[in-house]
């Protein structure tokens, strides 16, 4: 009998020792938990709002292939869905450990501000530049056609031909950068950023170079246009 009572008390003490700390938080710990959940909710909401805007940006792309556009849209939507689920999970966390883990996963699992949004913006930039490069290609064709007409009229267009060649070289340089960056950026995942935080910095610099090339090509195009007008009756 005595032995049974001792065993029962031992089990009871052991159970209390193991379970009470998990549910019984001090007031300080409870305050921290509430703060983590509240702050985590704010950060999740902020990201979801930004992602919805990014989704609109992706929808506005013109030259992005249907597959890439679909992939990028899916990535944004799945990020929104994941963050929404995380928000629900964080709201019912009862321990500081779980809350901290979930809050940190807002960063480590999704990398919204570090990767997803910059990625969407970079894709938008590359898309715009690719569209611009297509316009330059179209303009180049028109220049060639006009050159042909001017030649037939006995005009000397050798200088204009050199300028057009320079314009085309600049556009080709920009085009090579835009296409390469777009292909690379679309494939990036949060885990890539976790490995290398500077993963996008080189891309931005290259796109800036491509943009400068296109701006210089625009100046060449203006020079050619003015040259054509000088050889044309008013």
């Amino acid at each position: 009998m005595t032995r049974r009572i001792i065993t029962l008390i031992t089990i009871l003490v052991a159970t209390c020792t193991l379970t009470v700390p998990a549910f019984a938080l001090t007031s300080t710990e409870q305050t921290k938990l509430t703060t983590i959940i509240s702050k985590g909710n704010q950060e999740i909401e902020r990201r979801i709002t930004a992602l919805n805007e990014a989704s609109k940006v992706v929808a506005q792309t013109e030259k992005l292939s249907a597959g890439d556009k679909q992939a990028l849209t899916y990535e944004i939507n799945s990020t929104v869905a994941g963050l929404t689920a995380l928000k629900g999970k964080l709201a019912v966390d009862t321990t500081l450990i779980d809350a901290r883990t979930d809050a940190r996963s807002i960063l480590t699992q999704y990398r919204v501000y570090a990767l997803v949004l910059p990625k969407a913006r970079l894709v938008k930039v590359t898309d715009g530049q690719i569209a611009l490069e297509a316009k330059f290609s179209d303009l180049s064709t028109k220049f060639l056609q006009r050159f042909s007409e001017l030649k037939a009229a006995g005009q000397d267009i050798s200088t204009l031909e050199v300028t057009l060649s320079n314009m085309n070289i600049k556009v080709e340089n920009a085009s090579a950068i835009s296409a390469a960056i777009q292909t690379k950026v679309i494939a990036l995942q949060p885990s890539d950023y976790n490995t290398d935080h500077t993963i996008l910095s080189g891309d931005r610099d290259q796109l800036k170079t491509a943009h400068d090339d296109l701006t210089a090509a625009r100046a060449d195009a203006k020079t050619i246009s003015d040259g054509i007008k000088a050889l044309t009756k008013k």
């Binding site: 983590i36 702050k39 985590g40 949004l117 938008k124 715009g128 943009h211 296109l214």
Partner: protein, 147 residues
């Protein structure tokens, strides 16, 4: 009256006695010479003044002629110069126009493409700026309590 009377008397006196026709002619001639008053000094110089006047008139006529011709020549020269210049200008303009090629529909198409490229570059610049601003807006801004 007395003088008249005396002249008449003298005439009558000459008539006295009959003269031959030759003598009469000589006498008439002499009488005419005697009746003609002597030339004054001015009268003696009159032919010389007339010649000078005539020469002056001739010179005047020549002067007027020269001035008229000169004016005409200058005006004509100016007129000719203007005409030549005008002709040259017209010729030059015609030449320039002839050297230029006629405009075609391609010119308008080029302008349209350039405008489209301008708007594309403006948009690309905006996108570029937006992409760059994302750098500062990183995940590191999140502040999750660690304690």
């Amino acid at each position: 009256m007395e003088e008249i009377a005396s002249t008449t008397d003298a005439d009558q006196e000459h008539d006295v006695g009959a003269l031959s026709p030759e003598a009469t002619n000589v006498e008439d001639s002499m009488r005419q010479e005697l009746d003609t008053p002597a030339l004054t000094s001015e009268e003696k110089q009159e032919p010389k003044g007339k010649g000078r006047r005539f020469a002056l008139i001739i010179l005047g006529v020549i002067f007027v002629g020269v001035v008229t011709f000169g004016t005409y020549y200058v005006l004509h020269a100016m007129q000719t110069k203007n005409n030549t210049s005008s002709v040259k200008t017209t010729t030059t303009t015609k030449t320039d126009t002839a050297q230029k090629a006629p405009a075609t529909a391609t010119d308008a198409a080029i302008d349209t493409s350039l405008n489209s490229i301008d708007s594309g570059i403006t948009q690309a610049t905006t996108d570029q700026s937006s992409a760059s601003s994302a750098v500062s807006d990183s995940d590191q801004q999140i502040t999750v309590p660690t304690e």
